[in-house]
Symmetry: C2
Subunit: 461 residues, 2 copies
Amino acid sequence: MADFESRREKMVHIVEDLLKRKQYAQLRGSLLPLEPVDIAQLMDDLSGESIPLVFRLLPKETAAEVFVELNPEHQEQLIRSFSNTELKEVLDELYLDDAVDIVEEMPANVVRRILAHSEPEMRKSINEILKYPEDSAGSLMTTEYIDLKRDMTVEDCFKRIRRNASDVETINVCYVVEKSRKLLGYVTIRDLFLASYEDEIGEIMDTNLLSVTTLEDQETVAQRFSRYDLMAMPVVDTENRLVGIITADDVMDVMQEEATEDIEKMAAILPTDKPYLRTGVLETWKSRFPWLLLLMLSATFSSIIITKFESALSACMILTSYITILSGTGGNSGSQASVAIIRALSLHEIRFSDLPRVIWKECRVAIVCGVALAAANFLKMMLIDRLLFNNPAVTPLVALVVSLTLICTVICAKTIGAILPVLADKVGLDPAVLASPLITTIVDALSLLIYFGFALALIPM
Amino acid sequence: MADFESRREKMVHIVEDLLKRKQYAQLRGSLLPLEPVDIAQLMDDLSGESIPLVFRLLPKETAAEVFVELNPEHQEQLIRSFSNTELKEVLDELYLDDAVDIVEEMPANVVRRILAHSEPEMRKSINEILKYPEDSAGSLMTTEYIDLKRDMTVEDCFKRIRRNASDVETINVCYVVEKSRKLLGYVTIRDLFLASYEDEIGEIMDTNLLSVTTLEDQETVAQRFSRYDLMAMPVVDTENRLVGIITADDVMDVMQEEATEDIEKMAAILPTDKPYLRTGVLETWKSRFPWLLLLMLSATFSSIIITKFESALSACMILTSYITILSGTGGNSGSQASVAIIRALSLHEIRFSDLPRVIWKECRVAIVCGVALAAANFLKMMLIDRLLFNNPAVTPLVALVVSLTLICTVICAKTIGAILPVLADKVGLDPAVLASPLITTIVDALSLLIYFGFALALIPM
């Protein structure tokens, strides 16, 4: 299929045009070949009034799949426009985990209406899952899976799968439980195909189980999925009783979310879990202002240091010109190191005991970087600043001071940038929060101290 | 299962101890309950000589799975230590896509040995996949899948699946092809269970196919998987002939890789695709130095601006102290905006036509942020810098100049930070490469111009 993204804007115009000309049959025909998520995105681009109209053109099953993918405001608008029968029809088609996601986004009165029109079974399950904290394994799971008993034969299992295939989230992995629902093992659909019809499940199941408990963080879940290449994972309570399963498609969304969160923290943004365009101005402000304020106030240290050395600066004004280069290079060097370390930590590539290796590596990288930058800077100051711009104040001594400061700053920046995230992780803080911006502030103050130290020592004032 | 990460260091000690005491049976017993990836990680932590020893303790099938997860140096060491029979045994157990990954990492003489001992079928497939460029859909796919013909009955399919289940990467989705191998549709294993034995595949298959071509970028593949919640995706050539499939587990690795790459680019690091600790000092230097140098040289603009306004600065030295605060706050504001936009672009949340909305939003956020920061700064300068530190040079007029500059800088920074990535994306450049560091350099120069502009206009010198 051609890429939907590239045809999206054209499709919106076509749909709007067909709506205006009331060509509903043709509209239905042009929507049907699309994937549900693409139809939902088209509808999200339409004006509010036409959404229920388009929605009613879709066949029942597609309609439910599209509904799941719509943005929450449009879901709410649709639910309010539904008759009770329509609402029940959509709800009956939903998978449990999708229903829970929708309920989580709706205001209380809509939730009451949804629960009132769900099947009693589903209502019970929704309420159960809603109990788990957001971002926990419990809130991510579905309770629609296939469970087997150990004394069933493979043939029994095939029958059971055939009976339940349309109601469960996946049939690729089935879980074997005791009467008490204690988890014993699992079989994949592939295992079943490779066994004989009369084999007993207890003999062919794999008991080497990877599971998570309901309260575990979704980040842990995502890490295990990618580490162990899983397609599904059972969720158990504290007594190892099976309560649900998590499937790979939900975990992919979590992985995107978690990466976004890490990126936001590294850029000094408090994470929000909404897409960019759906976040209001005030909400965006709230996620950005606290760090900006904190970093601005902590930059006071640098400004105090500069004030202290005011007399040195006024004796040799040209030194002022190089403050921004020094603090910029220091900041960039530090954030290169810290960002590399933070990502390695979050992918479990390094741990606390690697700290000496990390420091040793960053020091060597820093020395090579620092010396190369210093040499480039010395040349630049002599050739461009002094000769090209004809500024006699840029003496070789000044260039030497700036270059020496560069070397020391890069070494400090990379070492601090590497150590701080590892320490933060060790004491249980989020390394990403300590990332580049905070390290930049520390490095700024340090580089100024080094700068004035070299200047006072080497330049006669 | 308890979390392996937390037991890892203890396990390494246990394994080393058992090796020293030659308790091989016990060692084998303590390794067997572990997942292959965990055994591999333990072995990677051991000293080189003991690796072949531990490897030979493992049952054949586990050994192959562990082999896949070892780091490339240890794989190479093992292959060199293998007899031809051993090598053949391991190769026969490998899935095709894993074999390709290994071959890609090995030096030429090892590759020749591997190919010489593979089954002719596998050798042909490995050579085929190796033709595709790195990071393309072709290099990610496997050719081990189940293909069906449209005139087969469901019962035929079950038989075919049963026969091939042990050799293919997945049986969850089967693809229907013509004689020419043109892709017609697919059926999931669930569809097969829900159909009757005598149904024909042509009737029950889904023809609404999402596929990628062999040369498409792996990032596109990952985006489609997560957008359409796929478990597997067919890979076709330019004539829509099925050549392979990609499964979700491989895509999860791609998603982690792509997120790491974005993060690295945002921190002015040239992406490497190796884990942190496996990258050498020189390689790390090469990935970091170019941007550091470029950014340092481009900071020359700021230093030229400061030099130009030297006389203003020496007339009012206190202005110097606030340069780092202004450039720091500008840089942070800019990177908040650019990082948010870059992430939204890479998740396809915004596109070029959203630019006016993006600018309008960032302007409003910037005004609220800027005014709040300016107010906080004015208070801080009056109360802390002037009263607490008793510095009479910090006059209300100086505080006003710094505060006004802050407002303008934040607005410039956020607007530029929002516009540049969208423009870069539009003209086909990678927005992440243009991210925070480069924007910071531009914002630095601008904020200095604004600063000296306000200073010259408002402060009598």
